[in-house]
Amino acid sequence: MRQQSHLFKETAKQALADPTLKIALNRTTGLLQRRRAQVIDEFPEYAEARAAAEKIKTHTLEHMAHYLAQFEANAIAAGAQVHWARTPKEASEIVIRICREAGATSATRVKSMLGEEIGLPDALSEAGIERVETDLAEHIIQLAGDPPSHIVMPAMHKTHEQVAELFREKHAEPSEDDDVTSLVESARRELRQKFLGADVGISGANFLIAENGSIVTVTNEGNAELTVTPPKTHIVTAGIEKLVPSLAHATVFLRLLSRAAIGAEITQYTTFYNGPKRKDDADGPEQMHIVLVDNHRTEMLGSFLRPMLRCIRCGACMNHCPVYASVGGHAYGAVYPGPMGSVLTPAMRDLKSTKHLPNACTLNGRCKEVCPVNIPLTDMLRSLRARQHDAGLTPPVTKWALRGWGWLARRPKLYHRVTGLAVFVMRVWSMNKGRIRRFPMAGNWTRHRDLPQPELGTFMQQYKRRQGK
């Protein structure tokens, strides 16, 4: 998707002015919050599981090279081919090359954020390969020509009324009714034949298992299995941070992932793929390719952003973020939206073009609270602000205001006189109405809300008076 995080203020403003978007976001984030709270309540070992998950990821990241080598050796032993890509461009080129070698004219795809990260949809269309999205929500946004707006529910920005409209326009045999079941049926009719006729199936991976070279997909629709089993070639693209040491370790995350993501104990389908079809297997792809992508992950590994590599892409942080709930995913102008995106995007791009992202946050900490692997998102966003400050990216007005404030605040006597004067001015300005409707220098506050009328004197002045000094 087009990077436009630098336009955040404008895109956010447009999003705020869209009442349908607000309805869509409220419906889904509200539902996901309630469901998550309920299943976490019913999961007595949640705290232990969360601590264990954090520990496993921390350990794996500390020994990244070891486990990656182990994964590669075991995947090859299982018959898969392993490819390494440093950049998004390298990764998508590898995928296209494999498609060409397979003589593919069409590819089915299972929703994967890594695929978005490496620009796969565009790369496939440039290569003239038809792309069939098999996930319902991805199918919706493909028809609408939108990028995903959420990492788990890519069509979160659409109401089902809008989807019904879209299907009527684009499907060969659309349903009469607008209810969700009819919409699913309509998509099924549209997609089924394409599923079976594709030359290549492309998926991501929720986990890479070092001890046996397996990859794991977690879905609710069963579309992963149907995407990667019929075609002759299965291509997996995955970020290197998806690694876990063993199958037993993966189960710890499976218990957390669907609870955090959709508020369900488990998803409908969890599949472990170990190499391509074997001699006596009834079905399965003849070739399996695994493309492992870095894209700044090793840099993050060596920096203060390392905890971000624990992320299992559950989306809980965005479902509980008041900023995300107000503007939705597209406003962020990046592949990954919400709190986790505001940390990842600067790491994958640069501080300057993404400078709004860490700042457009109240640091309320709910994201960190609900994160199943306890990533200190707010601390990292704050640290990114410090990096911006050190890089001279703070806007001049803010910089000088802070500098003036800091200078004054370090001189208590003068500070108390100046604040006393300011409060006096505000009090006169309020004309004893209890509140101030407009105040110069506080325009961004009073545009939306009143300011209280201050008392006669600051606390420090009144206290001094009372002490009789």
Binding site: P322, C361, T362, Q388, N432, P452, Q462
Partner: protein
């Protein structure tokens, strides 16, 4: 902590820059309740701001200078008590990040951080205080400010103390643990976003039908009161300590005299 506390602890009161300027009544209510709870209280004159605006804007050098001023002014006391979750959390949970590798200041900082408390938590968890003979007739709803709630675990304490106020009942607020959109400098840097968030919050507050909205952080209270008032809502906004002190007889935040 409760076991080791002196019989009559000496408390250094840190009023915070927002309460100092915008709502001194919260400061005086704090002094009254702290004394009623059995503390001797002093207000060091060399106090201004805890440094939070600089910290959250990424200016660590400026934050450090202010943090040193706070540490020096407050180290003589048994406890430092603050009528704000976010400023208390700044001193208690975040000052540590500033002095890594500076052995002298690290030790001084840790000593001060460890004895810094948000006032509602201090009264309950350290002093075991419950108000007596305080009356306020009405129905209140409660907003849990984020730093107090998530950094310092302030949730049950205010509810416990408010339950001892005669005539007052509490009605739950949907999304009581959700941000109000204040976020310090966020509310002016991204004022449209902040407005969207505080508008949602106001709708939820109005939906409770409560006469009064209470909380523990003047920044958030000012944001919500400012929005509620702009929307023409009748609900009166006070800091919890004003009610506990029996000092909610002054006009509510943003309300004129006649609304009393």
């Amino acid at each position: 902590m409760t076991d080791a506390r002196p019989a009559r602890p000496m408390v250094g009161f840190f009023v915070t820059c927002i309460v100092d300027a915008m709502r001194p009544n919260i400061g005086f209510a704090s002094l009254k309740v702290l004394e009623a709870a059995g503390c001797d209280v002093e207000v060091p004159a060399a106090q201004t701001c805890c440094g939070q605006p600089a910290f959250n804007s990424g200016d660590d050098a400026a934050t450090k200078a202010l943090a040193k001023q706070v540490i020096a002014a407050f180290e003589p006391y048994d406890y430092i008590v603050v009528p704000s979750g976010s400023c208390a959390s700044m001193i208690r949970s975040h000052y540590g990040e500033l002095f890594v590798g500076d052995a002298e200041w690290e030790a001084r900082q840790r000593a001060v951080s460890d004895k810094t408390w948000e006032i509602l938590s201090f009264l309950t968890d350290v002093m075991g205080y419950l108000p007596e003979g305080v009356r306020y007739d009405g129905v209140a709803t409660y907003h849990d400010s984020c730093s107090g709630l998530r950094d310092l675990g302030v949730h049950d304490q205010p509810r416990k103390m408010l339950a001892a106020v005669e005539g007052l009942s509490l009605t739950p607020l949907e999304g009581h643990n959700e941000c109000c959109g204040f976020g310090g400098t966020f509310c002016v840097k991204y004022s449209d976003l902040s407005n969207a968030i505080v508008t949602d919050k106001s709708e939820k507050v109005e939906a409770t039908g409560a006469d009064m909205l209470l909380g523990g952080d003047m920044g958030c209270l000012m944001n919500m009161a400012g929005k509620l008032n702009r929307r023409g809502a009748e609900v009166k906004v006070y800091h919890t300590i004003e009610v506990l002190a029996g000092m909610a007889d002054v006009p509510a935040i943003c309300k004129p005299e006649k609304m009393r």
